[in-house]
Symmetry: D2
């Protein structure tokens, strides 16, 4: 996740207000919750691209199973902070999807964390599968030869 890559990424923003239960006895947000926020960011990214992730699951029987995740924690988030989760699709294929995330304090603009997730497209039995054609353009992928469907909502 280099600086130059970031400049070219199109981020979609989602807003979160830190919940009490997301903090721990240290008084700051517990580290596993950033991965929950990444997921909130992914769902918002899908919506901004014109589809609902749940429809990909329900209508197409395809899942984006997490294969890898990384997170660097830069500064703590605290209860009731307004947080911006900025999500961008990274280099993806119709089998491997990548997302990159920036977590920022909305009020101060401070970077709190940055991370990435790698996903394998699977079927309902957790077996590797291919992204439905209707979703290819959302991830910047060209149509497959012979494919006609374009809209994920169709």
């Amino acid at each position: 996740m280099t600086q130059s890559t970031q400049e070219n990424l199109e981020y979609v923003d989602a807003q979160i207000n830190v919940r009490y239960g997301e903090t721990d006895k240290m008084g700051v947000v517990y580290y596993a919750n950033y991965l929950v926020w990444f997921e909130v960011g992914r769902v918002a990214w899908c919506r901004a691209k014109g589809f609902h992730y749940r429809d990909m699951e329900a209508q197409h029987g395809r899942f984006m199973m997490v294969a890898e995740t990384k997170c660097r924690y830069v500064a703590p988030a605290r209860f009731d902070d307004d947080i911006i989760v900025r999500t961008a699709a990274g280099r993806s294929t119709d089998r491997i999807i990548r997302f990159e995330y920036l977590i920022q304090n909305k009020t101060t603009g401070q970077l709190l964390a940055r991370g990435e997730t790698v996903h394998v497209v699977t079927d309902t039995m957790c077996r590797p599968a291919r992204l439905p054609d209707a979703y290819r353009h959302c991830f910047g992928l060209l149509p497959r030869p012979g494919s006609t469907k374009r809209s994920p909502g169709a």
Copy 2:
């Protein structure tokens, strides 16, 4: 949940060590996590009665959906405390299951919380259903006329 009822209940004990992520900024366990512990208690109760709750779901397509829950918080639990979750089945039918719980600090014996849950037996579509016959005796229910199966593991 009266005192006299409690004396007659057969409790099954499960042990838990408080996780860091279960605490909140107040330095004590976040209140929603007691319901997670109740569920740990239910699973242990099932095991003590000779069956795995996941088998009821997987083999019989029956779920014990939570319909109601209550919890009284008596004293706080803290990170790394050893906790005992004591679970007993309450008055149940083959459609409505009840559990009662006591949460205690294992080291001091202090009562930390007490609660109860009411469950509706459902099928995989969340529709009301009947407890599989093989599980009736686990909940103190007599066999239904004409029923022959008794062991949930069979």
Copy 3:
């Protein structure tokens, strides 16, 4: 929590979008998460009354520790559903605070759950304490004789 009481309650609404991690293998929202949503509702209620709950903790050293909670689950919530958490203060004193909640599906208006929480005002050591005078009017309590402060933000 009777019908007549409800009609007189002033509810404050907060909106939530169901997170993937809030669901469980049954495909619906895990029951403990409704208590997390209650807390989101409480924080929104405080904000609507003109104060931030975190300020009560940080500036006054007073906490609203949960002493009791109840929830009735009426219909399941699912991933990506838009949810309304409706929160009202119930009968309270400067030592015992009560909240009541309605959880609704925003799109269909369907009632999903209703619940209540009872809180004991404590100091930073979890000992019983009194609500700071500046917050009394937020809970419909008259000023104490001799008290002059009114605004919790002051």
Copy 4:
């Protein structure tokens, strides 16, 4: 985290039974929960080294704040699976602590995930600090010149 490194690492094992609430609608354990399990592993590692992590916080005012985390998900974990969390300390200093983790299905021995966390030692205000001398040997660090204390429990 190379193979050769692993062979030299001394792993401490902790056992977990997968909770219902740890699964998601896909029917497998939600990815953020592996980080919760890493923490369970760290606490067990500390205990195996002769100290309680909470004592480092309570008695010495030192925290191991997470600065970075990585996880590779190899195979899914499911409700009621018995899980082994294997934790080893990686290359550490008195300011930066590293842990490595293997998550295995206890019954089948299958590797489910592997990960690592990097921690910065901080004081109670989240400022960088030094590991208390009494804990140095637990992390394979030589005593500092002039230091005499050795036991973290002392």
